[in-house]
């Protein structure tokens, strides 16, 4: 494929492409965490689940030669890890944050242990949908190569936004997150709802991990995640527990992450590495701008331990 010189246009283009490519794990992890936190529990161990999901997806894809089977395996492993978290947190005086940290270390450790054998072999990648076929500009076509998981994530965000208001499960989830007493008075067992919500959150986070190892960057190694699982938990707070907000925040974050490499590629030689920190600086800046010492966080589920 020949390259066309499109000059500085490549920077915004790279940002769009990056937003789509980099954002997918953020979308899945933050939507998963939104479900969990809306039920009134925080699972900050999603980073560990993400890495374990990346490993199990890759390993399954290598062994079965099917990337989608890999994604399914990741989902199952994430659900199992979420169930573990939810089950432990059911006991009195157990702190969900502490269990989350333990789960993060456990997931990472197990992934490295079982994943040793899969660093060498290569797995089939997830297919991409080419949305840039109408264009002759290869950079544009590359930017618009959209993975199916991104589309699923976007649809999921819309679905969750709708489901939180219009389905029985959504209303029960919000009730449990708002007030355990109200839920109990209704005959709902909050621990069970939280267990299922944590399992769903774990499953989605692990699928996000599967995207990392099977599409972008598309290999399994011990530095596969650069903290996506942790950042996504912050994105949930940043988007005020709102699924569409999570989607937008993930795009913003992905786009900012592509800024550094894009500037480097157009020949900016000084200081471009500073822009690698753009996502983090952006998060900090927005967090500071939208918070205040004299004001409570709006939209937070009342039962959540991290905001109580």
């Amino acid at each position: 494929m020949q390259t066309t010189d499109i000059g500085y246009w490549s920077v915004p283009l790279a940002i769009v492409g990056g937003a789509i490519r980099v954002s997918t794990p953020f979308i899945f992890v933050s939507l998963g965490e939104t479900i969990t936190e809306r039920a009134g529990r925080a699972n900050i161990g999603l980073e560990g689940i993400l890495i374990f999901g990346a490993m199990s997806a890759y390993a399954t894809a290598v062994l079965s030669n099917s990337p989608w089977l890999g994604v399914a395996a990741a989902g199952v492993s994430g659900i199992a890890a979420g169930l573990l978290h939810g089950w432990i947190c059911k006991f009195p005086r157990v702190n969900d944050i502490a269990i989350g940290i333990a789960l993060m270390l456990l997931g990472t450790g197990l992934a490295f242990f079982f994943g040793k054998a899969f660093i060498q072999p290569s797995a089939p990648r997830l297919p991409a949908i080419s949305l840039g076929f109408w264009s002759d500009i290869p950079q544009l076509r590359a930017a618009l190569d959209v993975n199916a998981l991104f589309v699923i994530g976007a649809a999921l965000a819309v679905f969750l936004q709708w489901a939180f208001r219009n389905t029985r499960a959504g209303l029960i989830l919000r009730t449990v997150g708002d007030s355990s007493d109200a839920a109990r008075a209704m005959g709902i067992d909050p621990d069970r709802v939280r267990l299922l919500a944590t399992a769903a959150g774990g499953g989605l986070a692990a699928i996000g991990g599967g995207y990392l190892s099977l599409y972008y960057p598309g290999s399994w190694n011990e530095s596969i995640s650069s903290g996506q699982g942790l950042m996504a938990v912050a994105l949930v707070v940043f988007s005020r527990w709102n699924p569409l907000g999570c989607f937008a925040a993930a795009l913003l974050f992905g786009g900012a992450g592509a800024l550094g490499p894009a500037l480097q590629s157009v020949g900016v030689t000084h200081g471009y590495y500073l822009f690698y920190a753009a996502p983090y600086a952006l998060t900090l800046a927005i967090m500071i701008a939208t918070s205040s010492p004299g004001r409570a966080l709006a939209g937070a589920p009342c039962e959540l331990s991290i905001t109580r």
């Binding site: 029985r168 029960i172 007493d181 004299g294 009342c302």
Partner: protein
């Protein structure tokens, strides 16, 4: 759906209810009959067994002995679900509506047969139709957290009827309401019982409400039935005697006259401070307290009282304005409080005025632990002096504690409050700031704590008393202010204070 208000009220009878917790007898052979379509009041002190009785009746607890009759037939109630099936429901003291859900969402999700996907158009039509059978209106589209306490209480009652309940237990339903709201809500409940749609059992300790609305009453004391009968055959003193028995109750000292020349102690001018949501701001333009008077601040919770208290306690930075105590600038630092003799009795004392796991002696020493005998600051604590002072205070304020070294959290609510009073009222007090001091305490403790506040006033302290209990304000205050939406909207000397007038200003309808 069974949730139309045209159902029929049911009769409920508890027979020989007994509840043992280990060696402790919480309920001792209590029987109570609530006739169909009647409004029955259940009176008693804290710990008299009221909530244990209703929990046993509604299946939240399994009684050690006793049985339930519903409409004259024996009923097996093994859990709340059984009670619900029989049409028995409960409105809790603490609301059980999810605050970020709207009224409509709360109602629909409370239904056992809520559909998987909710067809809002259909549900809304059904809800509108149902609400038309109610004697009151509640907005269903706003998040419940944005409703007033009165609206929430009405929504709770509507929810129970929507769910098809025909016997309702109301657990202190008016504790968060203004007098007008309380009368409105209870009036609606009475209308529903009179129409034969509902039987109501109200747990209360407010005599006024019991006499104005209830048909019958049952009084519990120490787990036993102490008396009861038709309200028309009873008077206040008879009921009070049933409730408290032979206890000695502290009496208020006579009110010393406020001197004409009394010095202003606290002056607040054009104070502005944001609330915790950052949306509203309190605006106190002019508030002056004089030595030897109690100024009561009335208002529905959430109208800026907390913010005002936070500013005075140094927990919230004011945006602008001047606060002076005895003529000097006051920024609520510990040094200023000590210098100007400012003392605090915050609400929920265990949470806001104590370190729960530290000992009684340590908690009593919070004002003085770092001072030596001459009031200079010290580096090394004197454990013996702390114990000696604590012993003296515990003795003088009659705090009942197993030992001075017991964590203060192990004390009863009344004794925690006595400890806080002992700490705050010792030494010279020029300005005393008090918030809801008697919330959740029993008769004897309430009387004693009010007597102590009156003593502090007579000794020359200026007292700012913020309370949600209008009866308490009317009993103690020399002047009453009303806060609404962050501002002082009404002021009256006690001689001309009228509960209804104050209630109207609290509700902001003036």
């Amino acid at each position: 759906m069974s949730g139309s208000a045209t159902g029929r009220a049911i009769e409920v009878e508890a027979l020989g209810m007994t509840m043992r917790f280990g060696g402790f007898l919480a309920l001792d052979d209590v029987s109570m009959r609530v006739a169909a379509g009647s409004f029955h009041a259940l009176l008693g002190e804290n710990g008299a067994g009221k909530s244990t009785l209703v929990k046993c009746m509604l299946g939240y607890q399994r009684p050690s002995d006793g049985q339930m009759l519903v409409d004259g037939r024996e009923a097996q109630i093994l859990g709340p679900r059984d009670a619900a099936t029989l049409g028995l429901g409960m409105v809790y003291q603490h609301f059980t509506l999810a605050p970020s859900l709207t009224g409509a969402e709360n109602l629909v999700i409370a239904r056992a047969d809520a559909p998987f996907v909710i067809d809002w158009r259909k549900e809304r039509a059904a809800l509108t139709q149902f609400m038309e059978t109610m004697p009151f209106r509640v907005p269903l589209d706003r998040p419940v957290g944005a409703l007033s306490a009165g609206e929430r209480q009405k929504l709770e009652i509507a929810k129970q009827l929507y769910l098809g309940r025909r016997f309702l237990v109301l657990d202190e339903p008016t504790s968060a309401l203004t007098p007008d709201e309380a009368e409105e809500v209870l009036g609606h409940v009475r209308a529903l019982t009179r129409s034969g749609a509902l039987t109501a059992l109200m747990i209360s300790h407010k005599f006024r409400e019991v006499f104005a609305f209830a048909d019958d009453v049952t009084v519990l004391r120490k787990g036993r039935r102490a008396g009861g009968g038709a309200i028309s055959a009873l008077d206040r003193s008879a009921l009070a005697a049933m409730m408290i028995g032979e206890q000695k109750i502290a009496t208020l000292d006579a009110r010393a006259a406020v001197a004409e020349s009394a010095e202003p102690v606290l002056e607040i001018r054009t104070l502005r401070a944001p609330d915790s949501a950052g949306l509203k701001s309190i605006e106190i333009d002019d508030l002056v307290l004089h030595a030897g008077e109690i100024v009561g601040v009335a208002g529905v919770a959430g109208n800026g009282q907390r913010e005002l208290l936070d500013v005075l306690a140094g927990q919230r930075a004011p945006k602008s304005g001047k606060i002076r105590v005895k003529g000097s600038r006051y920024g609520a630092t510990r040094a200023e409080m000590k210098e100007l003799n400012v003392r605090f009795i915050p609400e929920e004392p265990l949470r806001n005025a104590c370190a729960p796991l530290m000992s009684v002696a340590e908690n009593l020493a919070f004002r003085t632990f770092d001072l030596d005998r001459d009031g200079r600051s010290r580096r090394w604590l004197d454990g013996r002096a702390i114990r000696r002072d604590a012993e003296r205070l515990v003795d003088r304020f009659e705090v009942k504690t197993a030992s001075l070294d017991a964590p203060i959290a192990t004390l009863s609510g009344g004794n925690v409050q006595r400890s806080v009073l002992a700490r705050e009222l010792t030494g010279d007090v020029d300005l005393l700031i008090v918030a809801n001091p008697c919330f959740g305490l029993d008769f004897a403790a309430v009387a004693e704590i009010r007597a102590r506040i009156m003593q502090a006033r007579n000794a020359g302290a200026a007292v700012l008393l913020v309370s949600e209990d209008l009866d308490e304000l009317l009993e103690l205050s020399d002047r009453i202010l009303v806060m609404s939406e962050g501002a002082i909207v009404y002021e009256t000397p006690i001689a001309t204070a009228d509960a209804h007038e104050i209630g109207r200003h609290m509700a902001g309808r003036c």
